[in-house]
């Protein structure tokens, strides 16, 4: 709150601003909405000065009623503290921003009840579309199909009938990560896998694919939350044993970071005693000690695809699935040389 008394609100119109600044009302709109046409810097400064002096507040609610568009997208993530979802959010914001849309970011903390309430809240705020990133495919997804709001499911591993979906081929990615550990000579690769609605999750399937194709018995598995603490607890169960496995594949960076802490407490060295590869490949994996070898999700491409489906839907194209291929980036934790930091 400013100590200077603000001018009275709601009485100043766009026309007043245009008159004061000596421009057309269209130019005022371009400045306020940051588009669609460019405005010369000096003119924009004059318009902003007029807005400031007159105390004009452009009214998005009135505009939304008039145009039927709020130029606002909703993004629901399960956990903003997870660097994967923070990275997706930044990428979605940047793409949406370039296309003149703001992003209303909401965070469900993986609670299906909160997720439903947030979606209802976004719909009632008249967002032009919703991007839902969820770890469960329950009531919230059903809501999206009945609420009649354009939507995209982001970070799904497979097609979902009737939905626009964008994700990665997690099964192939996990398989590549586990095959790499097997190439390093490991014959017992443990798995830490997050909880999801699926009976056999794609990353679990990829882990099985790799070990079975190599003629190895299935390694030990622990299900745990997609958190640092989840990875820590799971690694304690897997590796606090007389003959622990010699390798680990973790279904998220955060789980791997937690596992590194557990292995350190158990006196096991990475990669000498236990080699580690994880899934996600955020900057947190890059900066872990030791640096984590990771199967990287291409968050920028995924975000671009999701936003474009909402903002520029292609006529006559039925809802479909786009799957990106995650790439293994080797580093120190699997026994490879250190990967140089990104420029």
């Amino acid at each position: 709150m400013s100590s200077t008394t603000p001018p009275p609100r709601g009485q100043v119109t766009r026309s007043d601003v245009a008159r004061y600044a000596g421009v057309s009302t269209a130019v005022v709109s371009y400045v306020v909405n940051a588009g669609p046409r460019p405005v010369a810097a000096a003119t924009a400064t004059r318009v902003r000065e007029a807005i400031r002096v007159l105390g004009y507040r452009p009214n998005a609610s009135a505009r939304a009623l008039r145009t039927g568009s709020t130029r606002m997208l909703g993004l629901v993530v399960p956990e903003i503290g997870n660097p994967l979802f923070a990275g997706l959010a930044v990428a979605v914001e940047q793409t949406a921003g370039r296309l003149g849309h703001a992003v209303l970011l909401v965070n469900s903390e993986s609670d299906p009840h909160i997720e439903r309430r947030l979606i209802q809240s976004l719909v009632s705020r008249q967002v032009d579309g919703i991007i839902l990133s969820t770890v469960q495919y329950g009531a919230a997804v059903v809501d999206l199909s009945t609420l009649g709001v354009p939507s995209v499911l982001l970070n799904t591993f497979e097609a979902r009938e009737g939905f626009e979906t964008v994700g990665v081929d997690a099964r192939a990615g996990a398989r590549a990560g586990v095959e790499h550990l097997i190439e390093h000579g490991h014959t017992r690769v443990a798995l830490i896998i997050g909880h999801s609605g699926d009976a056999v999750e794609a990353r679990e399937q990829g882990w099985l694919d790799a070990t079975r194709a190599a003629g190895l018995p299935d390694g030990p598995l622990v299900r745990a939350p997609f958190t640092r603490r989840g990875g820590y607890d799971a690694a304690m169960r897997l590796f606090d044993a007389p003959v622990p496995p010699s390798a680990l594949f973790a279904s998220s960076d955060m789980q791997a970071v937690g596992a590194l802490r557990a292995l350190d407490e158990l006196g096991l060295r990475v990669p000498d005693d236990v080699a580690v590869v994880c899934f996600d490949g955020t900057e947190e994996a890059d900066f872990a000690t030791p640096q984590l070898s990771a199967v990287r999700q291409p968050v920028e491409e995924m975000a671009d695809e999701a936003v474009l489906r909402l903002v520029s839907p292609r006529e006559g194209v039925a809802p479909h699935h786009v799957s990106f291929t995650p790439l293994l980036r080797t580093g120190r934790s699997c026994g490879c040389p250190v990967r140089p930091l990104d420029a």
Copy 2:
């Protein structure tokens, strides 16, 4: 987008829903707005079913025009990928949610031009108030004072005339962290400090306070971005030397994580060769290897205070500053015993 054709939009009213569900229009509102009065689960299910069948979409824009409130707060953060700001965002959302407000979270990536545009965008979307967390106090802050929208500056280290401000006593916190390193016997404590608008930043001042009070010469200092990469580069400059300092205070968790990576590459062991303490104390510090000793910002209390100032402003109280005291949590990186993980 659902494969089932959604019912026609915009023609169904709250009264239609009430009639279909056999309840009053007030009960429909309670379900749609998740309050203020509770609704029995069976009744709420009936109302949701009516909303679904009729294709009703409650119109927040119309309500906003009617009531003058959007029940929406804007939160501007400089970097959502920084776990400190992710933690603040989660805490702000939770407090706002309990008070019936949604949070429009936007991310400036520390770009002052983007920051100004985002604030303008939030104002034009008629948010009830803006919480601004910035690393610079420039044009965006001036905008807030002229735009006439209630606002709080969150994560400021000192009072700003005419503004509601909430933060921590960073000088005292940094001093406590550096004093602890001196108690461990270190006489040369390097500082990695983020860029800010201030000539001598509060954390830098606290570092000076501690070394000077102990009669020690000022240690070496490097200014670097508040990022993992910033900390890495700064530590390379500070410690790739014939006689490197024996201790480091870093102005953020992320910088400290980057410094750990650099020290590891330089073959310096933490805490044996270099003791480290940092400022922020997020979960990332807890799970670093080795675990980081950190001066923790109480993000939950800070968020509560900021949201309450916007949602329940106290009559007749002038804008003022509330400063929380950050607490040192010792861990392995300073040479203390490992701190047990939070329950």
